[in-house]
Point group: C2
């Protein structure tokens, strides 16, 4: 069995997230169906993380084991012809036997896109969060800086998934103005359930004057999800970068 690692892109609008569910269409389920057909035996796709319903990925990594002899460089064309048009494999390579898209991951970056204009743009429906009010970028930047570093992020995670610890390291949380978009980029060694969206929702509360920028450290200390901002809608969230050692890392940064 060869272990193949691949770069996946998907528009998550139509899917109930990554993970296979019994009744709803998911990215994993759709991908496994196409790969199983292509390889001629049942395939299990190991994703780099769960994504929520409606969340997108420009760079998502998964690996799978197969006894088929399809060369990885031909996999994208062959698989894409069997995948729906909102999911595509961009690249694939042979990975070391012990490579696991989730366990081998060093860090990840998510980008959250807000369409900040008084009139919505029909071409960004489902692909950016339409927010027609003025944003206080300076206050959000002051607040954002408090999230950077190693902290207990229990205050910005939704319960529902088990985790050994709620301590994570946020490497950066940057806000860029790309009129009419505002882009938030957050990179961490790992993300708790809904953590990226809860951080964005909290920053929007800061912009709206509902939370003071310098209250963030205290709110993190309280570890109380009810005192931070709401979970921002999934529409604006994209997985945009992921880091690994070795050749898989080089592929995902190419």
């Amino acid at each position: 069995m060869m272990n193949i690692a691949a770069w996946l892109m998907f528009d998550g609008s139509r899917y109930h997230g990554w993970q296979v569910q019994q009744f709803d269409a998911t990215v994993q389920g759709t991908l496994e169906a196409a790969l199983s057909r292509l390889c001629g035996h049942p395939i299990t796709a190991h994703g780099c993380g769960r994504t929520d319903a409606g969340v997108h990925a420009e760079r998502y990594c998964f690996n799978f084991r197969t006894s088929s002899s399809i060369p990885p460089d031909r996999l994208p064309y062959a698989a894409n012809s069997l995948l729906p048009p909102d999911i595509a494999i961009k690249k694939a390579i042979y990975a070391p036997e012990d490579f696991d898209a989730n366990l081998s991951c060093l860090k990840k970056e998510y980008t959250y896109r807000i369409y900040n204009s008084r009139i919505r743009d029909p071409f960004y429906t489902g692909r950016a969060y339409f927010y027609p009010h003025r944003l206080d970028i300076s206050s959000m930047r002051v607040a954002a800086a408090h999230f950077v570093g190693t902290h207990d992020f229990a205050a910005v995670r939704s319960v529902g998934t088990e985790t050994k610890t709620t301590i994570r390291t946020v490497h950066w949380l940057e806000i860029a103005e790309k009129e009419p978009f505002i882009e938030f980029k957050v990179c961490a060694d790992g993300f708790l359930y809904n953590m990226a969206r809860a951080i964005i929702g909290t920053l929007l509360y800061v912009s709206e004057g509902k939370i003071a920028p310098d209250d963030i450290p205290q709110l993190l200390d309280f570890k109380d999800r009810r005192q931070t901002g709401p979970t921002a809608p999934p529409d604006g969230l994209y997985m945009t970068r992921i880091w690994y050692n070795g050749e898989v890392g080089a592929m995902m940064e190419s």
Copy 2:
């Protein structure tokens, strides 16, 4: 009754074109339902032209008459809250009593977007034509120049709609490389049914070596739709500019 002119944007993926049909969702039908509700009386929206199923518009103009007292500058916000997220009114103003979005139009520009890469991009599904083969831009540019000017365009129109004459003036037909996109911009005083897409399909035939670039004048002379290229898919087609005299013209260029 006041005559109001408005700038409309829509992602046409879900619609069977502009014009009201008995059973299928159309942009006109959806728009008229929202405006009728807003204005409190039945509204007829006069569009600047029919668009086909799946065709998009960044700048589309329509006008309608209403006895309601809603100020045009408030119309976009009020109407957009009643419209689905893939249709939005961007601006609106009072127009002269005799203004008609179709009859008053001086010229229009369509943009056709090809996503020219070996791997498709899930985020452009339905919004660009995915064409994974090499394009011969130079040959297409030679062929494109032959379409510019006043000609009988019967060779690149589908039958099915009545028209007094098939003579039109193409002001420009330009090809821009914006990797991984190729953008065609075609401006004319008017477009016959499927004319923009038939021109693009013919240019693709030129790129594929099926038509010689300098055969275009002769093919136009033959006036035989079967000898030109196929009608390119609607996904890549956007109405991008439209010209009028006076204040409506200024609004649509703003």
